[in-house]
Symmetry: C2
Subunit: 321 residues, 2 copies
């Protein structure tokens, strides 16, 4: 998405770029306004940047609207996303994320857990400041789903019989719901209003699924210098992702494999690629993108908003390609 955000901004209008810049300022302010120690951990998390894809979704779904409430909503979805990453890194004992040491690695388990809780709290604080209860509810629903998805993934770790259906339920909970919330927030606080929130929410859910499937393909195929991590971390965690599920159908012996080293995982990545599972999963991601785009025509949207939403949908499966 990083490389694809500019075309979206070109189409969506300067107001989206301005709101993105204000979101960065707000995130920095939130990280720095609090206790010195916590501020430092939170700052390093927020500074690690990332795609800011969820705030972009908020703003693009809002149409021509530009407001402090939208900036707060953009910051809120990013804060919630960050909070879950920080907690995930604690559970995974992950040393690096996006080429930087994680909060867990640099500050320890306790500080990282507290930092995640803090980012969580500030997400809701930002939405509370918008004065919109519907906005808080959207984030709260997404946040509960994230916790359920996280638990489901860990329950399924090293299971060899995870189905495609169960994988999609997990993706909906872990990724789709927050994308959906971002789009709902844009609708509710922006031009489209409450009445378009369901449809734009469904659009968000579909591109969330596409994003997650594509992310799972990248875990097995992505060049480490671009993804910032070695290939096959899902294999090491025992997380059955869509390409792994597909590969097991072709090469059932893969079910028995439990790599414990990075090089063993890399070798398995090649074996999985040889089954054609990566292409099949990529196709599935593209179907979700198509479903997302089909939601747009009946909606009352300005031409440039429709175009921006189409670009975002295409962008989630165009990373590193």
């Amino acid at each position: 998405m990083t490389t694809h955000v500019q075309p979206v901004l070109d189409v969506a209008g300067d107001h989206v770029a301005r709101m993105l810049a204000r979101t960065e300022e707000l995130l920095e302010e939130i990280a720095s306004e609090h206790g010195a120690a916590l501020g430092q951990h939170a700052s390093s998390t927020l500074a690690a940047g990332g795609k800011r894809l969820r705030p972009v979704l908020v703003f693009v779904c809002a149409g021509a609207a530009e407001s402090t409430e939208l900036v707060r909503a953009g910051a809120a979805v990013e804060l919630l996303h960050m909070a879950t990453l920080v907690h995930d890194d604690v559970l995974d004992r992950a040393p690096m994320r996006r080429g930087r040491p994680t909060v867990f690695w640099s500050a320890g388990r306790d500080a990282a857990t507290a930092t995640g809780d803090f980012l969580f709290s500030r997400a809701f604080g930002q939405l509370a400041a918008t004065g919109s209860a519907a906005a808080v509810r959207a984030l709260s629903d997404a946040s509960s789903s994230l916790a359920r998805g996280e638990l489901m993934q860990r329950d399924d770790a090293f299971a060899t019989d995870v189905t495609e259906e169960r994988y999609f339920v997990r993706c909906t909970l872990k990724t789709g719901k927050l994308f959906e919330a971002a789009c709902r927030l844009g609708a509710v606080l922006g031009d489209p209003g409450e009445e378009a929130a369901d449809a734009l929410g469904r659009y968000g859910d579909r591109i969330g699924l596409a994003f997650q499937v594509f992310d799972d393909v990248l875990d097995l195929s992505g060049p480490p210098d671009q993804t910032g991590k070695s290939r096959g971390t899902d294999l090491l965690d025992g997380t059955a992702t869509l390409p792994i599920i597909y590969a097991r159908e072709v090469d059932p012996g893969l079910r028995e494999e439990r790599p414990s080293t990075t090089s063993a995982a890399e070798a398995l990545c090649d074996r999985i690629a040889a089954t054609g599972a990566l292409e099949r999963a990529r196709e599935r991601a593209l179907e979700f993108v198509a479903q997302a785009k089909e939601i747009l025509p009946p909606l009352q949207l300005a031409d440039n908003q429709r175009q921006a939403l189409t670009l975002v949908a295409d962008g989630v499966v165009e990373r590193y390609s």
Copy 2:
């Protein structure tokens, strides 16, 4: 408080008892409505019960008001409290709480972290459903403070130079702010209204401090069959509480002690008691109670509400005595 809640209910009125019962129902519903696995962990956490002191504060501060919004606020403060307990137990690797196995112990680190995040999310979801942004803001502020307090406590672990002042800052963040939020929520959503929220919030802060100091005294002195844990867990964690700070002034050799077994900690509890530090800390807790009660006379409150608030203030330092 368990034994002292009945006199409060007798004075405050039947509506408080009714709202407490509805809070229990709502908490059960929240725990059971979600994914089977998560529901089970959340249920065991919520069922472990506890004093429900924070919901009582919400209702008593609300005066004669009785509403679904107040019930949601009562559930929200309890959910947030529970979320922090579940995460604390993960960090402390605690096997038991209130005589029951912790979520960490029975379901593991991953499930407990996700359960805490889920309870967090539902707390904000309940407040969002009240439609009051002021309510969400109160909880979000408390929640950020809790995370900061948690971090501060762990930063200070095994430090020998923690001052009384620093201890009180930590108590404010870890305990006072959520008590304050409970009282604010009662004011804002109940009869007293926005204009009494600051004063009732200060009342909450004071009894929160009293509660925490008294809790820290009980950790060193409380009979295990009543507190549900062995004496001196704070000594094992390296948490410098007020009685420990006072005891070190009288017996400086205590600074060097780092017990690593339950029996060594129990022996240290006796040595601390011999310094008179427990009485001195108890006195300090009583001063906070007195400060809390001094806030009440200028407020426009019904007689029975004033009486109930006084009973609650006295109750926080009358546990197991």
